[in-house]
């Protein structure tokens, strides 16, 4: 009964009228009645996984950085992102943002423009956050001193850059070998400047250099260096040379003069050279490379036409890119497939014989397979044919001692190969995938080498829109970012999407539902009928001595960050004391 003494009062003698209170008020504090003993369910604060984070290849904590941004804590927002992804300025531009496809807000009004928010924070961090701060931040995160390792990375694309970043931040010695003359891999040679300005990439690479990463360009695996050489010199080797082999058209004449590979074409333009293009350019394929090649050709003042053998629905290219491409005036012809390259006597392309197609039964990919329509052949006159029907991993340069799959190097979740101390990550493992997936693999490998856990989603529970208390949200259309006008795009490689201003990014961040992630909205604190939610410096705690388990907090939480669980722990019953 010791705790009771705190509340001990002398009960008044109620014999006199003046002793009586005006109304029925208890003589003692009600705190001595620990009503928590009535509880059968208890609320617990438990963040759950928002669908955006779940779907994001690197599981960015989107609600958390949105919350920081709108509270004016942009530095915290930046460090939240780079815990999962070191290059938000790049992914904010080139990632196809699957997060936005899953955003619960899409079923309410419009999806959150996550990539524009990420891009704004990324650009800010690239300018404002010093290398010293990056190091300090990782030092705070990593526990104790670790043995410093020497790591070789083959390939300076997004996977290799990511691994280099995390390893270098922790002070390990990293050497990156790049086959090309310049750094960045696919980011430099594959992605046109109107989507990713070279300056952004250069700044990111420059920062890696400042972090101490040693870059060696013009070095090819199998030619200048071998795996066994590297294994001797380094503690670990990470192979990340990508998938850059163009698939051949596979029709007669596909090696004629004037037939170019899409990736090579892009690489030439991206490295400042001018490929020889005829007036009439045909692009074959329906993927992102085909779209990029067509738009680059347009900027080189040609009139490109894209041919794709299936229909719009089956196009693997990102729909936003496809629509941008068409807006710029590029024609896409669907349901036509090449039959034969027509050449003149000098062996130069003068046309392409094609056949019309129709859609048949679904194939192995689940898409309806194109079937030629007999006798529908015709010839399209053209001077250049750019093939972009898919990229492959160059299997010929995989060292013999490495285990292979039919499409690339065999590696586990964390990038470990069959060889000790050798990792393989990125497209050379998975076949052609996205930049962000390459980043995810780069991070996993780096963490595995440093014996650290990879980033995780908040919980196994993915928050659905039906989990939210939508009464707390008002309809608000998506903030639209500015774009370069169509006329200004002509003949120019200037960036098309112009991103958000500070105000726009904050306005958009405020639209985030913060699904499953507490953002200190105070609803639980305000609604608790028993004042059992204790708020201390915006951290909440539940006083289970008095929480009756009514569940009002969990119900009023707009974002399902509170869970009611069955209460097995019965608190002491007052009456027994």
């Amino acid at each position: 009964m010791k705790w009771l003494e705190k509340y001990k009062v002398d009960l008044p003698n109620l014999n006199k009228e003046s002793d009586y209170p005006e109304w029925a008020i208890s003589m003692t504090s009600t705190l001595l009645n620990r009503t928590g003993s009535w509880r059968t369910f208890r609320p617990v604060y438990e963040n759950k996984t928002p669908p955006c984070s779940y779907r994001c290849p690197v599981h960015e904590k989107i609600p958390i950085y949105c919350d920081y941004l709108k509270r004016g804590m942009i530095k915290e927002a930046y460090f939240t992102i780079i815990e999962n992804n070191p290059f938000p300025a790049i992914t904010g531009r080139v990632c196809y943002h699957p997060c936005e496809l899953e955003c619960n807000r899409k079923d309410y009004d419009e999806t959150l423009s996550i990539h524009n928010i990420e891009r704004y924070i990324g650009d800010w961090g690239l300018k404002q956050v010093s290398v010293k701060e990056l190091r300090k931040q990782s030092a705070e995160k990593s526990k104790g001193s670790q043995q410093k390792l020497k790591i070789a990375i083959i390939g300076s694309g997004p996977a290799g850059m990511t691994a280099a970043f995390y390893l270098a931040c922790e002070g390990h010695t990293v050497t990156v070998y790049e086959r090309q003359a310049k750094l960045g891999g696919l980011l430099r040679y594959g992605i046109p400047a109107y989507r990713l300005p070279k300056k952004i990439l250069d700044n990111e690479i420059n920062r890696l250099k400042l972090l101490g990463v040693n870059f060696q360009t013009g070095v090819s695996l199998g030619k200048d260096i071998t795996l066994s050489m590297l294994k001797e010199k380094f503690d670990y080797v990470i192979i990340a040379y990508g998938a850059h082999k163009n698939r051949a058209l596979g029709v007669p004449g596909d090696d004629a003069i004037g037939v170019l590979s899409g990736l090579e074409f892009l690489a030439q333009v991206n490295s400042g050279r001018k490929p020889k293009l005829g007036k009439r350019v045909l692009i074959i394929g329906g993927g992102n490379t085909a779209i990029d090649a067509a738009r680059v050709a347009l900027r080189l003042k040609r009139k490109p036409v894209i041919l794709y053998r299936r229909s719009r629905n089956e196009m693997p290219a990102n729909p936003q890119e496809v629509s941008d491409c068409e807006k710029e005036g590029i024609k896409i012809e669907f349901l036509v497939a090449p039959v034969k390259v027509v050449t003149n006597k000098k062996g130069k392309v003068v046309g392409l014989e094609v056949v019309k197609m129709k859609l048949g039964k679904p194939d192995a990919s689940g898409r309806r397979a194109p079937v030629p329509i007999p006798n529908s052949n015709y010839i399209i006159n053209c001077d250049t044919i750019i093939t972009a029907i898919g990229e492959q991993v160059d299997l010929s340069i995989i060292p013999d001692e490495l285990e292979k799959t039919s499409w690339g190097i065999a590696a586990g979740e964390d990038g470990q190969t069959n060889l000790d101390r050798v990792y393989a990550i990125g497209d050379c493992v998975s076949g052609p995938k996205t930049v962000t997936e390459a980043i995810a693999m780069g991070r996993k490998a780096a963490m595995n080498i440093m014996n650290k856990n990879d980033v995780q989603v908040f919980s196994p529970y993915i928050v659905k829109i039906s989990d939210l208390n939508l009464s707390y949200f008002s309809h608000q259309p998506q903030t639209k970012a500015k774009e370069l006008s169509l006329s200004a795009r002509k003949g120019s490689f200037k960036e098309i999407h112009l991103g958000f201003s500070e105000n726009e990014s904050i306005k958009e961040a405020e639209r985030c539902f913060s699904c499953g992630v507490c953002n200190k909205c105070d609803n639980c604190y305000v609604f608790c009928p028993d004042l059992a939610v204790i708020r201390d410096n915006y951290e909440y705690e539940i006083d289970y001595d008095f929480c009756k388990g009514c569940g009002v907090c969990a119900y009023e939480c707009p974002r399902k960050a509170i869970t009611m669980i069955e209460d097995s722990q019965i608190i002491e019953d007052n009456s027994k004391e």
Binding site: L14, Y20, W23, A24, I25, T28, S29, L531
Partner: protein
């Protein structure tokens, strides 16, 4: 400053001058304008009060009780069905001794649906323990609103001030609106001794066993008894500050009256004219305006009415199965006095039907003429 305002807006100005701190209300015709103007005062910052939008009158009163118990001056306004919906909370306000002030605009109860005036809504709440004051003019409405807060906070009882729908609520009259400084001098800030305190929570209004319940009820009744003197004192104080007073009841030309007519609300104004006319004709008639209905001003009623030979009472209300409610009250006040005057009970004007000078004259004439009333309750103007 003189302003031409409706009865409803007279309430709003009174509440503003009284510096109410919490206003919780739900709109209902004919009360809506009261809180409409108050919400504008709150929005524009002219009144520094928390305006709480609620989903029902029951909640409006609950919010006012809680606000009042935690030390804030609270106000609400309602009418008819809104008041009926509050019924449980009206008991609560009294039991919790919270000095909430409410304006009720007298409106007839449905069905059949009516928005026009009669007194059945407020009189149905006769026994809940609220102080009830019936007003005659817009000036009286404003003055009573300011007085009501002072009365309520002195005796720890809620006060309902009552005005007729449309006849007063929506009718404009010139009203002298006092200066804020003057009102501040008259009405000090609300200061509650025992407030709700989250840091020292106590059980309020909890289970009270037979050992204590009776005593608490007794204290409420005692507060009502004391309230009579307090109302009178505050009314006189009000006169010192503002030059106006209204009394618990108001006798008009009653001194040598053989017949005294008892009225309440706006019918009083019409009756004054009739009394003046009849006095000009040399008839010895007087008028008694019944203003403070609860607590019952028993002594003063007796003093005035005992001198008359006959008393007639106009009721714009009906206690079904019995009769006019004011008449019952008058009868019970006069009961037991040796040779008390007979009481003629008239029911008239239900559901807002007009009560004209002619009607009133006929009521007085009837009382004059008939030795005894033909019926215990006489209905005027029923078309059946």
């Amino acid at each position: 400053m003189k302003k031409v305002v409706t009865g409803n807006h007279a309430v709003s100005y009174g509440v503003k001058l009284a510096r109410a701190q919490v206003i919780a209300a739900y709109p209902i015709t004919p009360q809506t304008q009261v809180v409409e103007l108050l919400s504008e005062f709150c929005a524009s910052g002219k009144l520094n009060a928390k305006f709480i939008k609620v989903e029902s009158e029951h909640s409006a009163m609950a919010a006012c009780i809680a606000a009042s118990a935690s030390g804030a001056r609270a106000f609400t306004a309602t009418s008819a069905h809104g008041l009926a919906l509050m019924h449980e909370m009206l008991h609560w306000a009294v039991g919790a001794r919270t000095p909430v002030v409410m304006a009720n605009i007298n409106r007839a109860m449905g069905p059949g649906w009516s928005v026009w005036t009669d007194q059945n809504d407020s009189l149905a709440q006769r026994d809940v323990g609220w102080i009830q004051i019936y007003c005659e003019s817009n000036q009286e409405v404003l003055d009573t609103t300011i007085q009501a807060f002072k009365i309520a906070e002195r005796v720890l009882l809620p006060v309902m001030l009552i005005l007729d729908a449309f006849v007063l609520s929506h009718t404009s009259e010139p009203v002298d609106i006092p200066d804020q400084e003057q009102v501040d001098e008259f009405l000090p800030p609300y200061n509650l001794k025992t407030k709700l305190d989250v840091n020292n929570p106590r059980a309020y209004g909890g289970l009270t066993n037979p050992d204590h319940y009776f005593e608490l009820r007794y204290k409420i009744q005692k507060a009502h008894t004391e309230a009579l003197a307090v109302i009178k004192e505050i009314d006189e104080e009000y006169k010192k500050h503002f030059g106006r007073q209204y009394g618990l009841v108001e006798p008009y030309r009653c001194d040598d009256a053989k017949v005294i007519l008892v009225t309440s609300g706006t019918i009083t104004s019409t009756a004054r004219l009739v009394i003046d006319e009849m006095r000009d004709e040399g008839r010895k008639v007087g008028l008694l305006k019944y203003r403070v209905f609860r607590p019952t001003p028993r002594e003063i009623l007796r003093d005035i009415l005992y001198r008359a030979q006959k008393v007639c009472v106009i009721d714009r209300n009906i206690s079904f199965g019995h009769g006019g409610i004011f008449a019952q009250e008058i009868k019970s006040v006069l009961y037991g006095l040796p040779a008390s005057p007979p009481v003629y009970s008239f029911i008239i004007g239900l559901g807002g039907r007009d009560v004209t000078p002619k009607d009133i004259r006929e009521i007085i004439e009837y009382t004059y003429k008939e030795e005894t009333p033909a019926e215990p309750v006489i209905y005027r103007g029923v078309r059946l």
